[in-house]
């Protein structure tokens, strides 16, 4: 089942002599359970594509269909679509620098997205513990992020991204701040999540060593997307 379809997506920054064409006619389709890698050097447009896919940045042209709903087309964002609600209910985010909320412990960081969708009490606590067990980090549940290692922080971040059973997980350089061994472990986890949770996972990375076993690998170069 198709989770995300991007058609003819372009993004242009500035105008006239200062115009920068960050993305050109991007077409991409991701289905449930797909593990997709976006490769590309710095400045190739990876983050811009991720921002447009996250519904944060307005594309200049094109169409975004998410979970069978047209979110963006040439006239702009579709009326009646609560983009933040879509993000909190149907998307999960994993960041390069983990981005855990520093004043919340591991358990609370995972609880936060659940609280945003109104999951409270025992069901929320059970879900948090289930995710922390899945990430094998239960014993560090009450630790603040500053007291966790990089790998542990990333596992908590993945647990947080999974909290609301997202249809789409967007991971921005999730292994960039980890050593190779820990990075590979994180990638293994993402593969497992894609298959077991039937979530579509898009991973932006510039490290080709990390994309072994991915379903689709795309190369971004000068704003154009090619099958890798």
């Amino acid at each position: 089942m198709e989770v995300l379809r991007i058609e003819g997506l372009s993004k242009v920054f500035g105008s006239g002599r200062l115009e920068v064409r960050a993305l050109e006619e991007i077409n991409l389709s991701v289905s449930a359970g797909d593990l997709v890698a976006l490769l590309g050097p710095s400045g190739s447009g990876k983050t811009t594509l991720l921002l447009c896919t996250s519904l944060i940045l307005d594309p200049t042209a094109g169409k975004i269909v998410f979970d069978s709903q047209t979110i963006f087309q040439k006239n702009g964002w579709s009326g009646g679509v609560d983009i933040r609600r879509l993000r909190r209910e149907k998307m999960g985010f994993i960041f390069q620098s983990h981005n855990l909320i520093p004043f919340l412990n591991a358990r609370q960081n995972v609880l936060f997205p659940l609280s945003l969708v109104g999951t409270k009490g025992e069901s929320a606590d059970n879900r948090v513990m289930e995710l922390l067990e899945y990430m094998e980090i239960t014993e560090r549940a009450d630790y603040l992020p500053a007291l966790l290692s990089g790998g542990e922080q990333q596992r908590v971040a993945i647990a947080r991204a999974l909290a609301n059973n997202p249809r789409l997980i967007l991971a921005d350089e999730p292994t960039a701040s980890l050593d190779t061994v820990r990075g590979k472990k994180v990638m293994e986890l993402l593969k497992k999540i894609a298959k077991e949770n039937q979530s579509a996972v898009i991973v932006v990375t510039h490290d080709v060593r990390m994309i072994e076993g991915f379903d689709h690998v795309y190369q971004l170069k000068d704003g154009r997307l090619n099958l890798g």
Binding site: L86, R87, F93, Q96, F103, P113, S115
Partner: protein
């Protein structure tokens, strides 16, 4: 999920240090509320304690408290003769600094007709009122004397026969009640040596310059010596049903004196002697309050700026704006409420140590607290603006 509480738990020492600083500022604001109230109470205390229907003073003077007023003592007979006046009594009010029990003390002397006249002490808490024409005094308990003690004032010694708890002079100093002739003697009677010198000077003038004989000079000398039978005001009690305006006009027209009701005396003080200190106190309260709000604003701004990346993450994962607004506002309100509470506790336990009277009123506390709450909401505006402006895209990318 209460994000503000979790954040403050992590930064608890900084939060506590900020609370201590802001609490001290609030304590000063609250103390100034009390100082303002005390200052007005003391400034108007003598007028309100005496509280006659009319104050008759020297023409075109705003006396006897806001401005000096001197009248011959016998004027009270003239005032008493005006239709509608039930009783008119002479009154002296004079702030002085004298040695009491070996220590220099400031106080105000009130001289009144001790045999049924108006203007005497109102609330005697120990001993009794003045019964004799001379050498007895009633003092405010703040003066620190006891009933039965002997106090030297000028040429004579006075026995403390009673203590009162009411009334103070404009500067908050205690009142000392004396009989009218005693007060006149303490205030207007000069040193014996000075009197002898003046008498000799006058006698020499009369015999040498004017050319009077020695017996004629002796005869006129007494008349030429300065009169000490002076008062500062006549206080009046009106007859039942008498018209205040009509009686005032009669006194002004026929006796060439100025007349004020007690309310007018209060207004004279508020617009005169008390006006600038009052304005200064109000201004100082406002400045302190603004300083408190600026500090809260800066603290909240700093707290928010430190969380800006977390706020971007929250927005990216779909947190609605109210979650972020609630977090910033809660921190601001917690800081303000805690600081206010500790400030209130501090001032409530220390206000007695102030040299002048501090009157803490619950109404003032509530008003200040409500203004502080409003201020806290406004103060968090800077942080909120920054938080709401934060782009979720900030969460993506490296450190």
């Amino acid at each position: 999920m209460d994000l503000a509480i979790y954040d403050l738990k992590i930064h608890k020492w900084r939060f506590i240090a900020t609370i201590i600083g802001v609490c001290l500022l609030f304590a000063v604001v609250l103390s100034f509320n009390g100082i303002y109230r005390g200052f007005l109470l003391e400034g108007l205390s003598f007028i309100k304690t005496t509280n006659p229907d009319l104050w008759v003073v020297e023409r075109d003077r705003g006396g006897p408290i806001n401005e000096q007023s001197i009248l011959p003592e016998f004027y009270h007979y003239n005032v008493a003769a005006i239709a509608g006046v039930a009783q008119a009594s002479p009154l002296i009010y004079y702030p002085v600094e004298r040695k009491i029990m070996g220590k220099k003390r400031r106080f105000a002397i009130v001289g009144y007709d001790v045999f049924g006249g108006l203007g005497g002490p109102q609330d005697i808490v120990a001993g009794h009122g003045i019964d004799q024409a001379h050498y007895e005094m009633v003092a405010h308990q703040k003066l620190g004397v006891k009933v039965g003690e002997m106090v030297r004032l000028g040429l004579h010694t006075y026995r403390v026969v009673g203590l009162t708890s009411q009334g103070s002079d404009v500067d908050g100093e205690p009142l000392v009640y004396l009989s009218l002739p005693d007060a006149q003697e303490v205030l207007f009677q000069r040193d014996n040596e000075e009197i002898r010198n003046q008498r000799e000077r006058l006698w020499q003038n009369l015999t040498r310059s004017v050319g009077l004989s020695k017996s004629e000079a002796d005869k006129y000398l007494a008349r030429l010596l300065p009169d000490t039978h002076l008062i500062n005001a006549v206080v009046v009690k009106l007859a039942p049903g008498a018209d205040v305006g009509a009686v005032s006009r009669q006194i002004q027209k026929w006796l060439y004196l100025s007349v004020y009701t007690t309310d007018q005396q209060i207004n004279l003080m508020l617009q005169g002697r008390l006006a600038k200190p009052k304005a200064q106190t109000v201004l100082f309260r406002i400045i302190l309050f603004i300083v408190s709000m600026v500090i809260i604003s800066l603290v909240i701004y700093t707290f928010t700026m430190e969380k800006i990346r977390s706020i971007a993450v929250m927005k990216l994962i779909g947190a609605p704006n109210w979650v972020i607004i609630r977090m910033v506002l809660e921190e601001s309100l917690l800081l303000t409420c805690s600081s206010f509470l500790f400030g209130l506790i501090l001032i409530s336990n220390t206000y007695q140590l102030f040299p002048r009277r501090v009157i803490l009123l619950p109404g003032d506390h509530v008003t200040t607290f409500l203004i502080a709450l409003l201020g806290a909401i406004l103060a968090s505006g800077l942080g909120l603006r920054q938080a709401l402006k934060t782009e979720p895209a900030l969460a993506l990318g490296g450190h």
